[in-house]
């Protein structure tokens, strides 16, 4: 599904990604872990097409297509979804209008008929159950405006449910969540999981992985994947921290 080869990226002239290689197949869950500043969020943003980051080298193919040539909206419509670490508040744009536009843009892209207002609201009602998000937040508010940290993250997963992506990248979705919210969010992700889809979990802590069990764990350090293994690696990291990996790499 996703093939990343020798990916280099920089921001304001500073190299953050330093040759990433990663292949993700349908049905898989990959956890990307690593100490702060290792490039985890950069990788997520580069894949989603954030123009603050400049790709200097390497290729990324997504379902056989050149991902790096696509505009961010096209990536989304091709089935890539980024759950933001810091979802943006957008005063003046209602949640309903925002989501309806997003859903219908995707439908147009797939040559499907746009949803009517009624069908759209029906879809919203159905999907909001998944993340137990407060209806009031969806019907009377601007995008993320005045949402608590937990509500923002739930809203990301709710949007994911609405858009049904092929590849979901969850960037630190667990950060700032209390244990109940974490459970709800993880539960949502698990329900949405399908054999034909894949997920990338970007996380600093092992905690989320108690609820969403990854097939592979990769450790990112200084812009490279320095270690890949099964889910047991996450437990090892939880127990021993990142220092031993740093030593291993530097030694």
């Amino acid at each position: 599904m996703l093939v990343i080869k020798d990916l280099h990226a920089q921001i304001e002239g500073k190299e953050i990604l330093n040759g990433i290689n990663l292949t993700i197949k349908a049905g898989e869950i990959h956890a990307i872990m690593g100490p702060n500043g290792s490039g985890k969020s950069t990788l997520a943003n580069v894949l989603a097409g954030n123009s603050n980051y400049e790709v200097t080298k390497g290729t990324v193919t997504f379902n056989g297509k050149n991902l790096l040539e696509m505009q961010p909206d096209v990536r989304a419509k091709e089935g890539l979804f980024l759950s933001f670490q810091y979802p943006v508040e957008i005063p003046g744009i209602s949640m309903v209008n925002f989501l309806k536009t997003a859903v219908n843009e995707a439908r147009k892209y797939r040559d499907e008929k746009e949803l009517s207002a009624t069908d759209f609201l029906k879809l919203m009602r159905e999907k909001k159950q998944l993340v137990q998000i407060d209806s009031e937040l969806l019907t009377n508010r601007s995008v993320n405006e005045g949402f608590s940290g937990g509500e923002k993250k739930k809203n990301e997963i709710f949007q994911m449910a609405m858009l049904e992506p092929k590849l979901a990248i969850l960037d630190e979705t667990d950060s700032g969540l209390d244990i109940d919210a974490l459970r709800i969010v993880a539960n949502g992700v698990n329900i949405l999981r399908k054999p034909e889809n894949a997920t990338i979990l970007v996380t600093h802590y092992q905690r989320l992985l108690d609820y969403i069990v990854p097939d592979f764990v990769h450790v990112l350090y200084n812009g490279r994947i320095v270690k890949s293994a099964g889910k047991e690696l996450a437990f090892e990291l939880e127990e021993k921290g990142y220092d031993w990996i740093k030593k291993e790499v530097e030694g």
């Binding site: 603050n52 961010p72 744009i93 843009e105 995008v143 858009l163």
Partner: protein, 456 residues
């Protein structure tokens, strides 16, 4: 080296025009309107045509505009072979208004109102000078001061007609009054319009001004309105400016509020070459409130300058200003917000905010708050921002599959929307909302596409 100050022939020309037209202006009448012409003209000659050295017109230099104009004046009402009211009829359901038209500065006598509540007057200003002399004498020239503003001075010198509205005490108007100010001429035209509106104590009214150009000629319009609001009265004033880009709209709206009165003003500038809106609000009684808003969308070489003066002359009054601009291409904008709080005007609350979005590197915005506060017992704040579209928000929308162009439009609409929420007439708000959306999409390029969705 001797530097001789360049003489501005435009002032001479205007003086000559004034002298030549004295007879037609005065129309054989010894009214207050005629008494103040000469002093106003002298005040104008003293101040001259506003240029960048004129403090209050620092950002709107009118030298060029006046130097190059030698336009026709409509000394008498223009005759048209068609009934403009029919041509310009409104077909909006549920938007029922008392409709009046002013064409090239002249009240359109075709407009008649059979269903006005008892005592309410909507008529030609010129007629009111004769027929409602005591009201005109009491209120004329009291708020639009000729001595301190060259455009007020010029208006006062040349004033002939416009609209006169009188709403007696205790009258609640069931429908808004809608005044369509049309410019229609086959040659370039300079129009002077003078309005006087009196809303009595305890009255409630909504007044909508729609400014339009119907032909592609070059226009200058100098439109001054004095608006007297009685005690406990509720008044909303909405202005939609939709001239074409060869029109200069130099207008002034001067309001005096009685105690416990509440005012909303909202000026939406959609199109126009040069727009200058003077707004004066004077609190003449305690516990009065004013919500003052403006939204301007400009592109190409358009220029929109909002200049507000809020006088907190009495204690316990509350003013709140919100002005926004979206500027594209080489457009320029200005906002000057002066708040004067008198020494004895304790418990004043005065707020002001001016937010602007520049879409290009060549668009320009000047924002100048001026707070003069002469006592300690006040709450005042002001804030001005000039920025670009929030790139983070843009990426967020794009990352959900919304194309960049659409995402930008959504963000701009959202930015503009805050001002439009202050429009209390729902049908009008929805119309303007849609019109703003269309304007941002570049779909409205013609001046006559009115917010009322009128068909020609």
């Amino acid at each position: 080296m001797i530097i001789t100050e360049e003489k501005i022939p435009a002032t001479d020309r205007l003086k000559e025009l004034f002298d030549k037209s004295r007879e037609i202006l005065s129309d054989g009448d010894a009214s207050v309107v005629n008494e103040v012409r000469e002093p106003a003209m002298n005040a104008f000659l003293r101040m001259g045509i506003p240029n960048f050295k004129t403090e209050n017109y620092k950002y709107t230099d009118l030298t060029h505009l006046f130097q190059t104009e030698n336009f026709r004046r409509a000394w008498t009402p223009d005759k048209f072979d068609v009934n403009l009211k029919e041509v310009f009829s409104c077909d909006v359901p549920q938007f029922d208004t008392y409709l009046a038209m002013v064409i090239n500065g002249w009240f359109d006598e075709m407009t008649n109102h059979l269903d006005l509540p008892k005592g309410v007057i909507i008529k030609s200003f010129k007629k009111a000078v004769k027929e409602n002399r005591s009201l005109v004498e009491k209120y004329y020239g009291k708020l639009a001061i000729a001595e301190t503003d060259p455009m007020n001075a010029l208006n006062t010198a040349f004033a002939q007609d416009g609209i006169f509205i009188y709403i007696p005490d205790n009258v609640i108007l069931p429908k808004p009054i809608q005044i369509i100010n049309l410019l229609r001429s086959n040659d370039d035209l300079y129009a002077t319009q003078r309005n006087l509106i009196i809303a009595g104590n305890n009255s409630q009214s909504k007044v909508i001004f729609c400014d339009h150009t119907l032909t592609p000629q070059t226009y200058i319009t100098n439109n001054v309105t004095e608006f007297e609001i009685g005690d406990n009265a509720l008044v909303d004033i909405y202005t939609i400016q939709n001239h074409h880009n060869k029109a200069a709209n130099l207008s002034g709206l001067y309001i005096r509020q009685g105690q416990h009165s509440q005012l909303v003003t909202n000026v939406v500038s959609l199109h126009g070459g040069i727009i200058r809106n003077n707004l004066g609000v004077l609190f003449n009684g305690e516990h009065a409130e004013a919500k003052i808003c403006g939204l301007a969308l400009s592109d190409k070489n358009q220029h929109v300058d909002n200049f507000t003066v809020v006088e907190h002359a009495k204690p316990n009054c509350h003013s709140n200003q919100l002005y926004k601009n979206i500027l594209d291409d080489n457009a320029s904008g200005a906002f000057t917000g002066r708040i004067n709080v008198a020494p004895h005007a304790v418990k004043t609350e005065a707020y002001q905010r001016n937010n602007n979005v520049l879409l290009t590197n060549t668009a320009k915005m000047n924002s100048k708050p001026q707070l003069v506060i002469d006592n300690d017992d006040v709450k005042c704040s002001h804030g001005a921002t000039v920025g670009r579209i929030n790139e983070e928000a843009l990426f967020y929308l794009q990352a959900r599959g919304i194309p960049e162009r659409e995402a930008r439009l959504m963000l701009m609409s959202a930015f503009a929307h805050e001002v439009l929420t202050e429009i209390k007439i729902e049908t009008l708000r929805n119309r303007i909302d849609r019109l703003v959306d269309k304007r941002l999409r570049g779909e409205v390029s013609k001046c006559h596409l009115c917010a009322m969705d009128c068909i020609r």
